[in-house]
Symmetry: C2
Subunit: 473 residues, 2 copies
Amino acid sequence: MRLMPVTDAMFLWGESRETPMHIGGINLYTLPDGVDETEWLHEQLALLRQSEGLRRPFSEVLKLTPFGQYGPIRLEPDRDIDMHYHVRAAALPKPGRYREMFELASRLHSGLLDRTRPLWEITLISGLPNRQIATFKKVHHALMDGAASIHFYNSMLSADPGERRAASPLSVEAYEAYKRLFPPPKKPARPSLTDIKAIGDFLKEQWGNSVGVTKAMNQYLAAMFGIGGEGLATPFAGVPRTSFNRNITGARRFVAQSWSLERVRAMGKAYDGTINDAVLGMCAGAMRKYLQSLNELPDKPLKAMAPVSIRPKDDIDSGNSVASVTANLATHIDDPATRMAMIQESMNSAKAQLRAMTAAQIQLYTAITSFPMMLTALTRTADKFPAYSVTISNVPGPREQMYWNGARLDGMYPASIPVDGMAMNITQVSNFRNIDFGITACRRSVPHAQRMIDYLEEALVELEAAAGIKKGK
Amino acid sequence: MRLMPVTDAMFLWGESRETPMHIGGINLYTLPDGVDETEWLHEQLALLRQSEGLRRPFSEVLKLTPFGQYGPIRLEPDRDIDMHYHVRAAALPKPGRYREMFELASRLHSGLLDRTRPLWEITLISGLPNRQIATFKKVHHALMDGAASIHFYNSMLSADPGERRAASPLSVEAYEAYKRLFPPPKKPARPSLTDIKAIGDFLKEQWGNSVGVTKAMNQYLAAMFGIGGEGLATPFAGVPRTSFNRNITGARRFVAQSWSLERVRAMGKAYDGTINDAVLGMCAGAMRKYLQSLNELPDKPLKAMAPVSIRPKDDIDSGNSVASVTANLATHIDDPATRMAMIQESMNSAKAQLRAMTAAQIQLYTAITSFPMMLTALTRTADKFPAYSVTISNVPGPREQMYWNGARLDGMYPASIPVDGMAMNITQVSNFRNIDFGITACRRSVPHAQRMIDYLEEALVELEAAAGIKKGK
């Protein structure tokens, strides 16, 4: 029995029929030569369905007090776990293209997880051509964030195509073996009395002293009210209302695509920027094109919430450990190079701001600055006061070619959470030589999510051309 | 725009994550010779996905006032209907047996319908052997009861294997063609002032006069408190608490099987009873065996809620038109013939009671007698005060061998609604020469629902033997 941290519980509070709070995604694999597909799938199904020695959080069920989700939430082992419920087999209808796969994933990602059971599902998907198979995983965000999810995948994958594992990827055994690859964990940074005092002072004195958080908050608020802030983008302030900012419905559309990591990196470098800057540039360009196609490109720039992992390298156990910065997407600017410069300026300001704080201060700061956003979500006014235009999240994945019991990992497409007022989420996972984009959108507010894939490519080509480099390999 | 009747809206009020209120089921077909499966399926998909000229309720979306579901609920045409959302294609993983089909149906039946869209889904299922294909339909009970659902199926089916229809089975065109087979509808019976006065008098005077309803209510309450009632079974009174009477979770298990209608009818006749009596006898025997296997057979008999359609023959438009009677399942009695006699006695008493009332009076009576059950559902105390042990519902289906654009209808397996305190629902549809049983259960409270199929057969054999007839054809 353990208590769920409040930062995890927030994802239970914010959940509704229209806003399920689970993350997930498709992993795509090619089977090794000489292996029978049905046999291989049944072996993995059998392994995944072993209920003995299951690791947490897969083994744990919510235990609520009479105060329900708003009281203390405990997690306890589920003594009656039904592995056939959690581990499913599905197949694609003919012709079994990626299109049918993404249709299935869209349906699987819609709909709530059952709160009377451990909050996860895995579906093994057959019926793809060319010896490919896929998995779709769905885990509540209260249990795992994107980085924790990658830790889980890494624990089940291997860089050795010949390696076969006898233990379930969901077992304590597999998890402990994986954890041994890391230095023994230090205690995670928790806010100290000084940190709390700093925030307390801030709240009492209305930004009156000069510790890191207060400075950051001052700078933040100054930018929000347009009196300084040196390029820092802030939520709410001047965020235009587009069709990405409607209150959402419960059905999802999930589409995905890979780009060459080298190609994206080269584009970023040409602007003296990072891969992350390059990705934001692609997303900004694509959203600009999307809104242009609907004749609703606003005069003011879209702003993206860009979650930043604040997880120490040795912390692989926390459910959530994320701060967020605001990226100005400069979508009102036609010239790709000027647009890119403005995006980078906002990111550099935000990063400088975070660097001035301790991890614990960042945590508190994040809690405080995200409060107004939660308020609009709970009052369902997020469509009228959008905090951001979109979420764009970048999660570092495996750096080598990975294999799952011999099956080559071809793609790792993340599905995440649209919320009221932010009907689209773009998440990327870097996976060996690729960067895998997953776009998760409210099916009603963003009916043409598929077009975003083409627009991302067009935006990349445009940025390459503006930087004077040819379309990459 | 039309107003939803209160008797339909009740199914929205009672809905929660754990208790989705939709009905559905599998229809199983064999493709005609010489037809390509993929081609045939794509033709049906294309027809089903036509959004033009869609009939209600498939075309309508809920329109709530600020009072939400408890205010007046209107239904209006959905101007932005996404047919690819409602009409889905799915395939079974290998080996594609009925087992995989029922696993998929269990998953499809779990989970809520999206209230921001018309409240239905149809999934076309491929991947079965022997040229079989299946559909799984899911419609909110607020829009359709079992009988309305059969009207829908009948409108898309034909007794002529050669008939091919160019219109969507969901279209006004198909529906109007079907309606022309019926005499022009009379106005449905509505409670008259006299009826309402009768109920009002009853409520005011605490069962003091002698009109039909009051008499029935008296008899009913007398039986409930054990002071008469001549064999009439009543809810609540002495209903034993078994594992069928837990508060339920959101996940379902759906299993199904066909029996020969002739065989079931012959068994019923041997006891001077109806097909419905025979079915109740099978269910009683099967539930007795199930509880015996868990070592929890109670001393007191289980009681079944047996919905009775009060729909006039010419009314094919109402969403819900159902009363319910209580069947004493006599599960405490070991001897099959004695058990059968007690079941029949309770059904005959209940029917005699209903016959003494007008349709309008039955409606009011049903509303009043079902109120305590709704109260226990809303207060989540249904597990402590179970109104019934189980729901057993019998719906008349097609009387001939039917075809869907040439595909032979092999089975029509209904999926229905378990609720708190009644974790299992057994519904049957008579279909040409068969009676198709569908068992829908909470996946946690009734984990061995599959065994019910074997127990139903065993119970039938036992009743045949006790009546001195051999196992039927």
